[in-house]
């Protein structure tokens, strides 16, 4: 059966430290746009930790969750791209082909989660920061949409490695940058079509929920709701 890559994020373990965000930026050559542009809403965060504050001081509760491209099974961003820059791969990922993108930005309007990002200017890295660029990932130019790819370069590298060693891919062998860097192991990545994989097992948990599932986007990222100590359900 074909693979369906998916991720499970345990919100009980997530501390909101944003190590995953930093790792993602480093791995995927994401440019910093500067504070002026960020203030105008153009910052690029393939993975972001969303924060919601509830209540007034001193009873403030913070709810946070890491949100990245949900690689939806019925992605609203895919049919609307006129040049097939956004399409569904055979392994269940929403692929973004930078070369085909002409920048109509329809996909980002259609994305219900606002998880797609646009290069408003040509990204620049001041020397010597350009030495840190990851050679496995292309650098996008102006006018192109980009988003989380589940570190498809790492997926491909592991698949090629496994094939050259003539063995199947082991569960947990592929680790996107965010999963690898999470200090509390809150994020698990794996093949949801393999019932024995850790990701598939956790996705069957009774704490499982999906973001905006009622919209029918069929997201492949499962969140495990936070349990409070006295047993009441709490996101």
């Amino acid at each position: 059966m074909a693979r369906q890559w998916g991720m499970v994020i345990d919100l009980d373990r997530c501390t909101g430290c944003e190590a995953c965000v930093v790792a993602c930026r480093t791995e995927n050559n994401i440019a910093t746009v500067g504070d002026d542009q960020a203030g105008r809403g153009r910052a690029i965060h393939w993975l972001r930790v969303e924060r919601y504050y509830e209540g007034d001081f001193p009873d403030v509760k913070v709810k946070f969750m890491p949100v990245m491209c949900q690689q939806c099974g019925a992605a609203p961003c895919e049919p609307v791209c006129p040049t097939f820059a956004s399409y569904h791969t055979e392994e269940g990922l929403n692929g973004q082909v930078y070369n085909r993108c002409i920048g109509t930005r329809y996909c980002s309007n259609a994305c219900s989660y606002n998880l797609r990002f646009f290069n408003f200017y040509n990204p620049t890295w001041e020397k010597p920061l350009d030495l840190q660029l990851n050679p496995d990932v292309s650098v996008r130019s102006v006018g192109i949409m980009e988003k989380c790819t589940f570190c498809v370069q790492r997926i491909k590298a592991s698949e090629i490695q496994a094939e050259s060693e003539k063995r199947p891919l082991r569960d947990g062998e592929v680790q996107p940058a965010c999963v690898q860097s999470c200090p509390t192991k809150a994020m698990v990545f794996g093949d949801l079509n393999d019932p024995t994989s850790e990701a598939a097992r956790l996705a069957r948990s009774n704490r499982a929920m999906k973001l905006l599932e009622e919209l029918g986007t069929v997201p492949q990222v499962t969140y495990l709701k936070r349990d409070s100590w006295n047993g009441a359900e709490n996101v």
């Binding site: 542009q37 809403g41 040049t83 085909r100 002409i102 109509t104 309007n109 259609a110 989660y113 006018g143």
Partner: protein
Amino acid sequence: MAQKTSEQINEELLRPLQSTSLTYKLALVFFVAVVAAAGFAFSYQVNNGIGVSGLQRPVFWAFYITNFVFWIGLSHAGTLISAILRLCNATWRRPVTRCAEVITVFALSIGATFPVIHLGRPWLAFWLFPYPSERGIWPNVRSPLLWDFFAINTYLLGSVTFLLLPMLPDFALVRDHAVGFRKKVYNVLSLGWTGTPKQWHRLEMAMSIMAIAVIPVAVSVHSIVSWDFAMANVPGWHSTIFAPYFVCGAIFSGIAALIIAMALLRKFLHLEEYLLRVHFENLGKLLLVMSLLWFYFVVSERLTAWYGNEIFEMPTFWSTQRGDFSPLFWTMVLCNFLIPFPILAIKRFRTIAGCVIASIGVVIGMWLERFLIIVPSLSSKFLPYSYVTSPYRPTWVEITITCGTFAAMALLYMLFSKFVPIIAVWELKAGDPNMKVVREASLAPSAGQALPHGSEAGAD
């Protein structure tokens, strides 16, 4: 009812082609300057990136798409007036048809530039065209933007044909009144039209076919443009009412633009005897109907949104009714309904000036309506964390390009009226109920050979 001879009509309607006033030249220079500024702004944007505009995440579409929908909508003027009134045999339409068709062609051309202007990589816009590329990739037909491509091109072809075909006899007319190089040019343009009955019949048959063909195309074009929004699951966009709503709004703004254009032509080309108050009154009544229809659609859409109280829709809804966008929203209602309705409904106010005031209001209001469909919905999509960071504000690039489109429209219109008679002369003579053509008995001396006897007139 005015009475003129055929030659008098020719003279008056061909005068703009033969003489140019100083006002015209100054206006031309001004509009060219504004269009040049817009061109500069666009090249600045291509060089530096879309970042020079006010766009941001999540408001990825704003001024450019507003302009796109606005101009495509405005282009529905010609279709309504020419095609529908032609099919209904409304003879009062005759002096008005070419003015309307010209608006359609130019508004459509201007609107069709915006899908290129708003692209992140506009130099690759040709990928929307289905051609066998070396990458083996074809455009995605499932995307509403592709439907736009086909629909707008079909409508453009239809409108250009609708405009150019009845121009053949008028080109022949101008050819016969011109000398030298101009005569040669108009001869080529007229395709050698002589006026045999066969030519007239075929032309009129072609026009009837075009009238029937272009109406469904026009309806489909703006429905497809509306589906650019309705096909995306965005609060405030994903509504089935969009297709009729947009078509109604398009015809609404089209009639308003036509009234303004006619009033300007009437004033500057001294066509007071051709474009009469009755024309403005009839168009004003149509504008009134469209205003009421538009109001009905807005109320239906707002009422269902409010009553449904859907959790994701309400932030967008309230932002237009009471929040950041409410000044624009209530201005729009004022311009589109509250001002035009009394002016157009009460006969005393439905003068030419009154119709023009109402129309200017409608043009402003309809532009605002396009803006208010796009930006508030994008500013407050589903997840509150990614609502808009700072409210969308246009930059000088977007404002310049917007002004440039209005200047381009005026410029193209002015150039057209300089080279082609803006009122279809043969159509006017053939059946306008407000102009009686007196068949003159005597004949002006001509350069042709005359027989010794018989230049006394036969009585008609």
